[in-house]
C-alpha cells in the first residue's frame, strides 16, 4: 500500500486533512495509532469518533506536529506536517486535550500571550481581535477575570476563543464539549455549526455518538488506533442494517417466527425482540406474526444509527473503555 494512494480521498477530492499510514508507537512497543488514513474534505464538519483511549488525541497531536509519528505522513491544508508547521498552522485553529491556560492571568491576558507568540498576527489589531473572539464565545464579560476562577464551561470556551483569534481555514477541536453541562454543550455545538456555516472546515474529535449525529456531515470511526470506516454520515449509516423491534407477550414465539422468515441477528431482550430487517417488508412480517396468532403489542423499524454501524464494524458495543 503506497502512502500516496491511500492519501487520496474518494474521487480525489482535495482534502483539508489527510494522513497516510500514520502510526505512533510508544516506548514498550504499544501502538497508540496504527495505519491511520484520515481524509477530511474541505468544508466538512468531520466527527473523529472513537471510544476513550482509541487514539484520538495522539492522532491530533501528530497532525499538529506536537509528537513525531513513528511512521506515515500527514498534511494539513495541503502542507506536509510537521515540516510546514510554521507556514500552515496560522491558518489552523486548535484546541488539544482540553483548555490549558495560566490560572493567574485573566482570560484576555492569556489570549494576548498567545497572540504575542504569533509572528504573523498584526499587533495593531490584537486588542480588537481578542475582544471579538471573547464575544464570539460569550466570554466578553469575563475577559478580565482570572482564568483560575472560570468554570469548566468557560475554560472550554476560552480555548475555542484562542482558536478563533484570527480567521482560520481549519479548526481542529479535541473533545470540545467534554465535561460541559447540557446547556454548555448546546452552546458549543451551536457555535461549531455557525463556524461551519462560515466555510471553515472542522475536525472534531469526540467519544459521543450523539454529538456526531447532531452536528457532523462526515464521520471517521477510530477503533483501537485505526480508522474502521469513514465517509459522509448518511452513506455510512446506510451500510448498516435497519433494526426491527417487536414488543410481545410471547417473545420466544416471535423470535422463532422471525428466524423462520429468514431475519438475521434475532435477539430477545425481555418482552422485546430485535432483528435485522434486511430486505424483508415490515408489513408482511407483521401480517405473518398476526397470522400465527402471536400477540404483538408494539412493532417498529428503526433506521440504522451510528451505534449500529460501530457495532457492525467492531462487534463491540460503543462503551468499551
Amino acid at each position: 500500500m503506497s502512502p500516496h494512494e491511500t492519501a487520496r480521498g474518494p474521487g480525489h477530492d482535495p482534502l483539508a486533512v489527510r494522513t497516510a499510514g500514520l502510526a505512533k508507537q510508544y516506548a514498550g512497543g504499544r501502538f497508540a495509532v496504527r495505519d491511520l488514513d484520515l481524509g477530511v474534505p474541505y468544508g466538512a464538519v468531520y466527527g473523529f469518533l472513537g471510544p476513550n483511549g482509541a487514539g484520538k488525541t495522539t492522532s491530533i497531536r501528530m497532525l499538529l506536529g506536537l509528537i513525531e509519528p513513528t511512521e506515515g505522513h500527514c498534511e494539513l491544508l495541503g502542507v506536509e506536517m510537521p515540516r510546514g508547521a510554521l507556514r500552515v498552522l496560522p491558518r489552523v485553529g486548535t484546541m488539544v486535550e482540553g483548555p490549558a491556560f495560566h490560572p493567574h492571568l485573566s482570560g484576555r491576558d492569556n489570549l494576548r500571550r498567545l497572540d504575542c507568540a504569533d509572528r504573523t498576527a498584526d499587533p495593531r489589531t490584537t486588542t480588537r481581535r481578542i475582544a471579538d473572539a471573547l464575544d464570539r464565545v460569550g466570554l466578553g464579560s469575563a475577559a478580565r477575570a482570572r482564568f483560575g476562577t472560570y468554570s469548566l464551561g468557560m475554560k472550554q470556551r476560552l480555548a475555542i476563543a484562542a482558536a478563533l483569534l484570527r480567521p482560520r481555514d481549519l479548526l481542529i477541536l479535541d473533545e470540545p464539549t467534554n465535561g460541559l453541562d447540557p446547556q454548555g454543550t448546546r452552546q458549543v455545538r451551536e457555535l461549531i455549526a455557525e463556524l461551519a456555516g462560515e466555510g471553515m472546515t472542522i475536525l472534531l474529535s469526540t467519544h459521543l455518538l450523539s454529538e456526531v449525529e447532531q452536528i457532523c456531515s462526515h464521520v471517521g470511526i477510530l477503533y483501537r488506533g485505526s480508522i474502521v470506516a469513514q465517509g459522509k454520515m448518511d452513506e455510512l449509516c446506510s451500510t448498516a442494517a435497519a433494526r426491527l423491534r417487536v414488543e410481545t407477550d410471547d417473545p420466544s414465539a416471535v423470535a422463532a417466527e422471525l428466524v423462520r422468515l429468514g431475519l438475521g441477528d434475532v435477539a430477545v431482550d425481555g418482552e422485546t425482540v430485535h432483528a435485522d430487517i434486511g430486505e424483508s417488508e415490515p408489513a408482511k412480517i407483521n401480517a405473518s406474526l398476526v397470522h400465527q396468532g402471536i400477540g404483538v403489542r408494539g412493532f417498529g423499524v428503526r433506521a440504522p444509527t451510528l451505534e449500529d454501524v460501530f457495532i457492525s464494524l467492531t462487534g463491540e458495543g460503543f462503551d468499551v473503555g
Partner: protein
Amino acid sequence: MSADTLRAPVADRLSLRLLRGELRFIATRRRNQIALAVLCGVPVVLALVLKLSGAAEHTASAPPMVAMMFGNGMLVVLAAFSVESLIFLPLAVAVLSADAVSGEAAAGTLRYLLTVPIGRTRLLCVKFAANAIAVVAAVAAVALCGAIAGIAAFGAGDLVTLSGSTIPFGDSLGRVALVCLYVMAMMIAFSTVTLFAATCTDHPATAIVGSLLYVLCDQLLVSVPELDWLDPYLLTGYWRDWGDLVREPVQTGNLTIGLVVAGVYAAVFASAAWARFTTRDITC
C-alpha cells in the same frame, strides 16, 4: 474581522513582542516578585546586622571582609554576593528556567504556544533571553539595594581592597560594577544548565531539584582535595572568584579562565537543551 488583511502573513522576523510578553509575564508573577524582594532584602539585612554588631567591634579582630567594610558601603554589595552567589541566585535562576519550560508543559500551555505556531528553537531562544534579562535585572537590583544600604550605613569613603591597599570611592564603584558583570555572566551560564534540566521534565519541581543537586554535587567535587585535578573544569568553583576584582592590582587569571569555562558550559548545555526541546514529543 477583515479576513484578508489579517491573513496576509506579517512575518516580522525581528518581532520582539514575545520577548516583551515573556518579560512582563516574569515580572508580574507574584512568586518572582517575592523572590526578588528576598534577594534584595539580603544586603539590607547584612548592612543592618553589620552596622549594629560592628559598631562595638570596630577592631582588627573582626573578619577581614567585615573589617574592610567600615568606611565604604560598597562592601555590603560584595558581602551580599558572597552570601547569595552559591544558593540564593542559583535557586532563583533554577526557578525561572523551570517555570519557563517545565512550567508551561505542566500547565499544558506549551502545546497551545507551539500550535500558535511558534518554532521550538525560537521559543527556547526567547525563554533563554528573557531569563538572562531577568538574571541581569535581579543581580543589578541586589547591587543597587546593597549600595544604597551600604552607603547609608557605612558612608562613601575609600575602599580597603583584599590586598590591603586602599582605592578611592569612585574606583570602588567601577570594581563593584565589574563584580556585578562577572556574577551576571556566571548566572547566565548556569541558566543554560537549568534550562536543559527543564527541557527534560514536565514537572517544574523536578527541574529545580535537579538544578540544585547539580550545584551541590559540583560544590562537593570542588571541596574534595583528592579531586583537585578536576577543579578547573567545574563551573561552580569559579562563582566566587570575583573577589579577585577587589584586589590591587586586579588578578585576571582565574577570572578569565572562569569566563571561558562558563562560555563552554553555556554552549554545551544550550545545545543539549535545544536538541532535547526540538525533538521531544509534547504529550502534556
